[in-house]
């Protein structure tokens, strides 16, 4: 990297200790097993928060704010001096967790890079320079003449991106364009003969690219180490923790019904229609249609219903009513009742099974004849269109939903569906089918109470005008 247009010397940055680690080497620390897991979960919260923010299309400014908040909430340690250890330890633990498949690596790499980018931007200029220095990005000054040559173009770019006009004492770095892909992609730099002219305040892109490529390589190495030695050596200690962490769901616990507890059997069809997310609605409809569901479907729907507040007795009655059409009451009692009681922790290990989160459902792999999974991920586009059409999603919203699906933002697609169906926004996004249910119920109950008090008179007709008209 060269520096253009700097007749002043850049202040030496050697004495500043960067507070932004580059995670070049693993910590030589003793880590307690609890901390190992706990720190990782905290960092995971940060990364998941970033991932949500990105998929909701937050602006860079909002993202910066979000990252700041997430860090404050999750990454500080009661003892300030431990902050940086927590940071480093948690990063290396998650490297283990996320090194194991291509898909996991991709996600981790992109979230960590995003985190790093915004953290870098949040630093003071001094710290930034220290990080640059640590990154081995040599800064070689280039004659003023060159700045004069391209001054016009640099002005043009600054005006184009709405920044103040560069002056002669502003520092520009001359960087091979491939090192600052983001700045190139958004045309935020002037490019000439393969070199991008990067202003000081833009240099983070460059540093981020370095960070990213380093981490990417490191993850591949870790992955090799993991399969060749660590996994086996740690099979009684770290391995189970590591394996559980990658699919862990970090939102609120829906294993116990809350707030809108207790749905009864007679309401279930109506509630399914109004408040079940598509994945559950599909299972529910299929169950009614085929009087049967395979194991994956029984688990996904069964645990969801438990979370929704269906009591064990009701659950047994519900499943029995359907299954006995097909397999007879006796076989149901013998073969299937166990599983349902099991879900409620009444058999087997007696642990309460937790309803599946979206993440878990989305990453499941339904086979032939299976109906579980997330329709936004597992349906063909055509079937998905039909299904959300049936839920009452209109054309305009449908395209938005499909667009999200094409970009593989399934939960966002579900969120948009929720918003279209309920005519109300869902700022938190959908992370869990039971959350979908609860949010839906909240809106419907609010609506119902308003309707009762507010619009009497013609209120009775407002619900179905379209239907009435089409019959005429």
């Amino acid at each position: 990297m060269e520096v253009v247009g700097s007749h002043r010397r850049i202040p030496a940055a050697a004495h500043v200790v960067p507070t932004l680690p580059l995670y070049r080497s693993a910590p030589e620390l003793e880590v307690r097993l609890e901390d190992f897991e706990l720190f990782a979960i905290y960092r995971l919260r940060v990364l998941k928060g970033i991932s949500d923010g990105l998929s909701r299309g937050k602006t860079p400014d909002d993202m910066k704010k979000l990252v700041e908040d997430l860090l404050r909430e999750n990454m500080s340690h009661p003892q300030a001096s431990e902050d940086s250890n927590k940071d480093i330890i948690s990063h290396f633990v998650l490297r283990l967790v996320y090194c194991r498949t291509e898909e996991l690596r991709k996600w981790f790499l992109s979230m960590e890079t995003t985190l790093f980018r915004y953290r870098f931007q949040l630093q003071s200029a001094e710290v930034q320079r220290a990080v640059i220095a640590e990154n081995d990005l040599p800064c070689k000054a280039v004659s003023n003449a060159e700045f004069e040559n391209v001054k016009e173009k640099l002005h043009q770019v600054s005006r184009h991106i709405g920044q103040s006009i560069p002056t002669a004492d502003m520092i520009f770095y001359k960087v091979p364009f491939e090192e600052v892909p983001e700045l190139v992609a958004s045309r935020r730099v002037f490019i000439l003969k393969g070199y991008a002219y990067v202003a000081t305040n833009q240099v983070s892109s460059h540093v981020v690219t370095q960070f990213r490529s380093y981490l990417s390589k490191a993850l591949v190495l870790t992955s090799r180490k993991w399969t060749s030695t660590i996994k086996e050596r740690e099979k009684d200690r770290l391995t189970p923790i590591v394996e559980a962490l990658s699919t862990s769901y970090l939102g609120p616990d829906y294993s116990q019904p809350r707030e809108f507890a207790d749905i009864s059997l007679k309401d279930i069809d109506q509630v399914a229609k109004s408040s079940f997310p598509l994945c559950m609605r599909h299972l529910f409809d299929k169950l009614r249609e085929d009087h049967h569901l395979k194991h994956g479907g029984r688990m996904q729907l069964g645990l969801f219903l438990k979370g929704v507040g269906l009591k064990l007795d009701d659950a047994l009655a519900f499943w029995k009513a359907e299954f006995s059409h097909k397999v007879g009451a006796e076989r149901f009692d013998k073969e299937y009742a166990y599983g349902i009681r099991h879900n409620y922790g009444k058999e087997g290990k007696r642990t309460d099974y937790t309803p599946y989160s979206c993440q878990k459902i989305i990453s499941s792999t339904p086979g032939v004849g299976d109906h579980h999974g997330c329709p936004f991920r597992h349906f063909s586009e055509e079937n998905l269109r039909a299904a959300i059409g049936k839920m009452g999603v209109g054309n305009r919203a449908m395209e938005d939903v499909i667009d999200k699906v094409r970009n593989r933002h399934y939960q966002l697609a579900c969120t948009l569906t929720f918003e279209a169906v309920h005519g109300s926004s869902c700022d938190a996004g959908i992370n869990h089918p039971n959350q979908y249910f609860i949010d839906s119920q909240k809106i419907l109950q609010k609506g119902a109470s308003q309707e009762q008090t507010g619009t009497k008179g013609d209120g009775t007709h407002t619900g179905l005008p379209a239907l009435h008209q089409s019959k005429v």
């Binding site: 043009q156 005006r159 491939e178 892909p181 983001e182 045309r187 000439l192 003969k193 393969g194 070199y195």
Partner: protein, 450 residues
């Protein structure tokens, strides 16, 4: 190949009797014709030399495995698709093409290992089989401009709409050379209604996906297909690259070729589409009023499109509001700016049809286009398979090799390919191989001394 064309093919199946006047329109791709083409005309050696990038030489720095790690894929008759073909030498390549006689040859990336043995490596872990080099490629198809071309529809092209491709070549070629600093760029007619671009500099071949996406993003302005959204939206003063594209290419193409060639203002439906892009109600209704009134009136000397465009520009530029000035540019960008197939450029492992293939539907050869004279290129007069075979017949089937080749109308394309693309490319490949070899030597010497 559709059934109709296949039947046409059968009608024409007199190998020895293929005459020079074989019809052009309902072109055919007969297997026997194709065999002769591959046997006598297809420049196997040039393709081999190109894709070897100097590694087929004797220099100790050459990587002898290089060409053999390149994926080719063949589409045979009856839509049989053979992926992951690889060849260790020119003769293997030539033999396979001549035998299999593919209706289409696609070129993929260079992998870390021979793609034919990919299965053995794929098991070795995630990085067992992965692309390591690939030209930076661009794909432009005139079909993506269907909402702004009125002269032709579907698969047809004429010289009028071809100027859209000319504009694209000029804009992108200049950006690749002047902005990104690439030198070895090959433009190729896709055989029907588009162009392909191959950027072959060593640096380009080694770009990762993110860097490819960055270049594609830099070049990408048009956001098509977005239900009613504005398709081009330019904010603030133009970036130097866009300003140059506008001033040096787009403005002229728009005003000199598209405006009248596509009759952009000739009907209400057409000018409404342009008015839609102007955010100021009072301006649009003023213009609309004028134009609806003048519809019947008088035979103007000047072309109606030119007149109306002039009026539109005048009124927009006379307003104080800066955003409205931008509007003129937005319209020009919307109608003339290149529309890239982004996905093709973003990923290393995209396949692209090899130059000098014969397009199965049109029979036209995918010949190179000289970007410096791209306005002279006419897709409708490109040599076709039947024409070439006719020429061969006249020249006598016995004339093989370059003599036979140069005698046909393909000769010019081949000459251009060699002198303007291949030779300079191989020259710099040789230099690169030498210098990186020397650097390595120096390094190892240094380490020995230690």
């Amino acid at each position: 190949m559709s059934r109709e064309e296949a039947e046409n093919g059968r009608d024409n199946m007199e190998i020895d009797g293929c005459e020079p006047q074989t019809p052009q329109g309902n072109a055919v791709l007969d297997a026997n014709f194709l065999k002769i083409y591959y046997g006598k005309l297809f420049p196997h050696e040039d393709i081999f030399k190109w894709m070897s990038y100097g590694n087929d030489g004797k220099h100790p720095g050459c990587d002898q495995s290089y060409f053999g790690r390149r994926e080719f894929s063949f589409t045979l008759e009856n839509d049989i698709y053979l992926r992951y073909q690889s060849f260790n030498s020119l003769s293997e390549l030539e033999k396979s093409i001549n035998e299999k006689c593919p209706v289409k040859i696609d070129v993929g990336p260079v992998y870390n290992v021979d793609p034919a043995k990919r299965n053995a490596y794929a098991k070795a872990g995630d990085n067992g089989f992965t692309p390591v080099e690939r030209e930076l490629i661009f794909d432009l198809d005139i079909n993506d401009y269907n909402d702004v071309r009125y002269c032709c529809s579907g698969n047809d092209v004429c010289l009028d709409c071809w100027s859209l491709m000319t504009a694209a070549i000029k804009v992108i070629d200049t950006a690749l050379r002047d902005d990104f600093g690439f030198d070895h760029i090959l433009w190729v007619y896709s055989g029907r209604r588009g162009v392909h671009c191959w950027v072959c500099d060593r640096k380009a071949r080694r770009l990762n996906n993110e860097q490819r996406a960055a270049i594609a993003g830099y070049l990408h302005v048009y956001k098509g297909n977005e239900y009613g959204h504005k398709k081009v939206s330019l904010t603030g003063p133009l970036h130097p690259f866009l300003a140059r594209s506008y001033n040096e290419v787009l403005k002229d193409i728009f005003e000199e070729r598209l405006l009248c060639g596509q009759k952009l203002f000739s009907s209400e439906e057409r000018f409404e589409k342009i008015l839609e892009m102007i955010p100021d109600e009072s301006i649009t209704s003023e213009l609309r009023g004028k134009w609806l009134e003048s519809r019947q009136s008088s035979r103007l000397k000047e072309d109606i499109n030119v007149v109306r465009w002039g009026q539109l520009k005048h009124i927009l530029q006379s307003r104080k509001h800066k955003g409205l000035h931008r509007c003129v540019e937005e319209i020009v960008f919307c109608y003339a700016y290149p529309r890239l197939d982004m996905e093709v450029s973003k990923h290393m492992n995209h396949l692209l049809k090899a130059p000098f293939c014969v397009h199965p539907k049109t029979g036209r050869v995918c010949v190179p286009i000289d970007p410096n004279h791209c306005e002279e290129f006419d897709p409708t007069t490109v040599p076709t398979l039947s024409k070439l075979l006719g020429e061969l017949n006249v020249g006598g089937l016995s004339a093989v090799g370059d003599d036979g080749l140069y005698g046909t109308s393909l000769g010019r394309s081949i000459r251009y390919f060699r002198s303007h693309f291949l030779q300079p490319l191989l020259k710099s490949c040789k230099e690169e191989i030498e210098s990186s070899y020397n650097a390595k030597l120096r390094e190892s010497k240094n380490s020995l001394r230690w």
